[in-house]
């Protein structure tokens, strides 16, 4: 009796070994994903642009992943509080978050914010907001050239308003200074609303603002230059920086990311789901109408994009630190 048992055991071990070798190469087991609800965390206030995109995607995601998507908010520190939470989450694909460029690059460059750029794996970038330069409608500066000439004549006296320090707006101003060889007086504001109020009221001479805010207030502003490769479809009369001899492209990109260590097949699955939404013609049309540029940047492309930006900004930030 005892012998038969040993034989059975021995045979089954052999069988297992053979079976294991047969499925070459030996892969880590791919657990089915997703099998439970996914938390989609937004590190900004409800009702803001990131939240509105997440809500637009929610029903499509639930359909293509066949799981419930819960939108959750971890607000604070210009997104830093939420992203610090993201990199501490289990990298299993059940906790994903909205990520913004250049925020996730600039914040860790400034100080210890509780996360590092490399700890976030971007899955898809789906929306771009190019930045533009504008002055109040009654401003003496009629063109980018006049504006830059005025800054040359009186260095540091022209005020340019933007949201925050070490932010996309701040970096864009620094870049313009560097390329044009001038110095502005950059005035930081706490967000789009106070920033736009200040330029409409004439409390700052100019503003670096997101394309959707420029579209909103285009009647009360003179739009000097857009920091994008081509003219912005909703503002066809607004020239680009490039057309006027300043080679500058600056934008805020919105996307979704997971913590580093998330298995590739999970990233792939999320990527497919988000790209499908990003390419949906209805959504593309809606985004364009609201003043945004739709993107459909997959995981690999997003990764190189972030790495390239990180290198550029590290250089730029050296000058101000």
């Amino acid at each position: 009796m005892k012998k038969t048992w040993l034989v059975v055991l021995g045979l089954s071990i052999v069988a297992v070994v053979i079976a294991a070798c047969a499925s070459e190469p030996p892969k880590p087991t791919e657990a089915p994903y997703p099998t439970k609800q996914i938390t989609y965390m937004i590190p900004f206030d409800p009702g803001g642009q990131s939240d509105r995109e997440a809500r637009r995607q929610q029903p499509f995601l639930e359909k293509s992943l066949s799981q419930k998507i819960v939108i959750d908010y971890k607000v604070g520190g210009g997104g830093a509080v939420g992203w610090a939470e993201l990199v501490r989450a289990k990298p299993d694909g059940y906790y994903i978050a909205g990520v913004n460029l250049p925020h996730i690059i600039l914040q860790p460059l400034q100080q210890d914010t509780g996360y590092k750029t490399e700890q976030i794996v971007p899955v898809v970038f789906f929306q771009r907001t190019p930045l533009g330069l504008a002055v109040p409608a009654n401003s003496p500066y009629k063109s980018l050239k006049e504006f830059i000439d005025a800054a040359k004549a009186k260095p540091e006296s022209i005020t340019v308003g933007g949201s925050g320090t070490f932010s996309g707006h701040h970096i864009a101003t620094l870049r313009l200074q560097k390329i044009a060889g001038v110095k502005f007086n950059y005035v930081p504001f706490t967000g789009a609303a106070p920033q736009m109020t200040a330029v409409l009221g004439g409390h700052v001479n100019a503003v670096i603002a997101n394309s959707d805010d420029l579209v909103k207030y285009k009647d009360q502003l003179r739009l000097l230059a857009m920091a994008d490769a081509d003219r912005f479809p909703l503002l066809p009369e607004m020239p680009t920086f490039k057309e006027q001899g300043v080679d500058m492209i600056e934008a805020i990109d919105r996307g979704v990311g997971v913590p580093v260590g998330t298995p590739d097949y999970v990233v792939k699955k999320l990527e497919t789901a988000f790209l499908e939404i990003a390419k949906n013609p209805d959504i593309v049309a809606d985004m364009k109408k609201q003043g945004f540029v739709p993107l459909a940047m997959g995981a690999a492309e997003s990764k190189t994009h972030v790495e390239k930006m990180l290198a550029t900004y590290k250089e730029l930030v050296k000058d101000i630190k």
């Binding site: 009702g47 520190g77 509080v81 106070p194």
Partner: protein
């Protein structure tokens, strides 16, 4: 246009959602901790199911409805649910202890109605004229306004001027915790990611007021809030006669302050309290239970809430977090509030404005009968009421962010509040300073960047120079009174 707006606002579905919004707003106001911002955010997903008019009517009703209920717990149990009810608690709770809780709540509801209506009338007829006020305020004007606000510390401190200034400094320091609003540099966070978001006002206020009150009552073995069992229910004609002027004055002040984006009801309610004290025939009663003080505060915060719709509708500029979420609601329908919405969607805008008239009537009808229910709470024996207060405070604090940290903050500030009151430090200046800190700091830094370091910028612009002069006058007068009059004769504030 308004008539058409009424016709559409009176349609059954719009009426229904206005009512739901008013009920939800009252509830949100009454429950300490849960604020209109969170409540509106929770309802945002509904926008995918409803047409724009009823959804936005409901969200707006939650916002102004919350201002009605906000004073309830402040008056009854000394828990201001948000910063704007802190000055309500000062006199309201004293009145409740004198058995006048019912009339106080009644006056508070009536004032809310009067001031809310003043605000909506202003919004209806003067919005295009007044919209420019929002743009007239640049960083130097905001700084001057915040500075004027800070000068009220003098009158809020009463006799204990030095202690009041110390308390205010502590309030400013508390508000600095977290990331610098402009540069994003972490301050006083001790490397804790959670502290980077700063600490919320609500747990601080609930600790300072509610927990310290419970601790003091436990210490002196209080049996109940009321000294005797006689209580009145509704305000008398005498009460109305005493307060109607305060209602109107604070209604106008609140509405005008509401036109300035970023000027929250919390700021205006302190200003209205101070203004009323200067107008009042009996300023010595302020702080010991003055009905007109409660009316002034309630009028100001309701009118400010309505005034905030002017910059929202005319420029798409939200005055505060709750209106920012409401703006998000508009955007979910692809609507962008601003001059173009006024010309492209006038029907929708007038429907919303008309619904605010209706909503204010609904809120009055809802709130007056509730007064009787609430006022009874004062009869609950303290050994039962005290633990209930603590429990509700904890739930309220936890519901903000679902973080244990906020409960620890309530407890910490409960002890701080207890010690402050024991040693005669006034609590109100600390709250005022904490409320103003962000505006003060941001605007100061921006102004000095613009002027390249010259403080003259505050004295060369018409609006800011007026504010600065008034503030300096208040300060000089306060210090003069302090020096000249023997301590006992000053119309002193109670030790709230």
């Amino acid at each position: 246009m308004l008539a058409q707006g009424f016709a559409s606002a009176l349609s059954p579905i719009n009426l229904l959602f206005a009512l739901i919004g008013c009920i939800a707003g009252t509830l949100v106001g009454v429950l300490p901790g849960l604020g209109p911002t969170a409540a509106i955010a929770m309802l945002l997903p509904l926008t995918t199911m409803l047409p724009p008019a009823p959804a936005i009517i409901m969200m707006a009703a939650i916002y102004y409805g919350a201002m009605y209920g906000g004073s309830t717990t402040a008056i009854l149990v000394n828990i201001p649910g948000e910063a704007s009810s802190v000055p309500t608690a000062i006199d309201g709770y004293q009145l409740n202890q004198q058995g006048r809780g019912g009339p106080t709540l009644g006056i508070s509801a009536i004032t809310s109605f009067v001031a809310g209506t003043i605000g909506v009338v202003g919004l209806t007829f003067f919005a295009p004229l007044l919209s420019q006020v929002a743009l007239a305020f640049g960083p130097p004007e905001y700084f001057a306004l915040a500075f004027l606000g800070l000068s009220l510390i003098i009158s809020l401190s009463g006799r204990a001027l030095v202690k009041g200034i110390l308390a205010a400094a502590f309030g400013l320091l508390t508000a600095m915790i977290g990331l610098d609003p402009l540069t994003g540099v972490a301050r006083l966070t001790f490397g804790q990611p959670l502290l980077m978001a700063g600490i919320e006002f609500v747990p601080i206020i609930m600790g300072l007021f509610a927990i310290s009150e419970v601790l003091l009552n436990v210490e002196s073995s209080v049996r109940g809030i009321l000294s005797d069992q006689k209580i009145e229910w509704l305000p008398s004609w005498q009460d109305l006669k005493e307060t109607w002027a305060a209602m109107l004055r604070s209604g106008f002040l609140g509405f005008f302050m509401g036109l300035i984006p970023g000027c929250s009801p919390a700021v205006t309610s302190f200003m209205a309290y101070d203004m009323e004290k200067r107008f009042s025939k009996h300023p010595e009663k302020f702080g010991k239970g003055a009905m007109d003080a409660v009316a002034a505060v309630e009028g100001a915060n309701n009118a400010t809430a309505s005034g905030g719709f002017v910059p929202l509708f005319s420029f798409g500029i939200p005055s505060g977090p709750a209106l920012a979420v409401l703006l998000g609601g508009f955007m979910m329908y692809g609507l962008q509030p601003g001059p173009r919405l006024m010309t492209e969607q006038p029907q929708l805008l007038w429907t919303i404005i008309a619904s605010m008239y209706i909503g204010n009537v609904m809120l009055l009808i809802l709130n007056l009968p509730l007064v009787g229910v609430w006022a009874r709470m004062a009869l609950i024996p303290f050994p039962i009421l005290g633990p209930l207060i603590v429990a509700f405070t904890f739930i309220g604090a936890y519901s903000l962010r679902f973080q244990m940290l906020d409960i620890w903050i309530v407890l910490l500030f409960g002890v701080i509040g207890y010690l402050m009151r024991k040693f005669g430090f006034p609590v109100a200046p600390m709250v005022l300073a904490a409320v103003l800190a962000k505006m003060l700091e941001t605007a100061l830094m921006q102004s000095l960047v613009i002027s390249q370091g010259s403080a003259l910028i505050f004295f060369t612009r018409p609006i800011s120079v007026v504010f600065m002069i008034v503030a300096l006058f208040f300060i000089a007068r306060g210090v003069w009174l302090q020096i000249r009059t023997p301590a006992a004769n000053i119309a002193l504030e109670s030790d709230v």
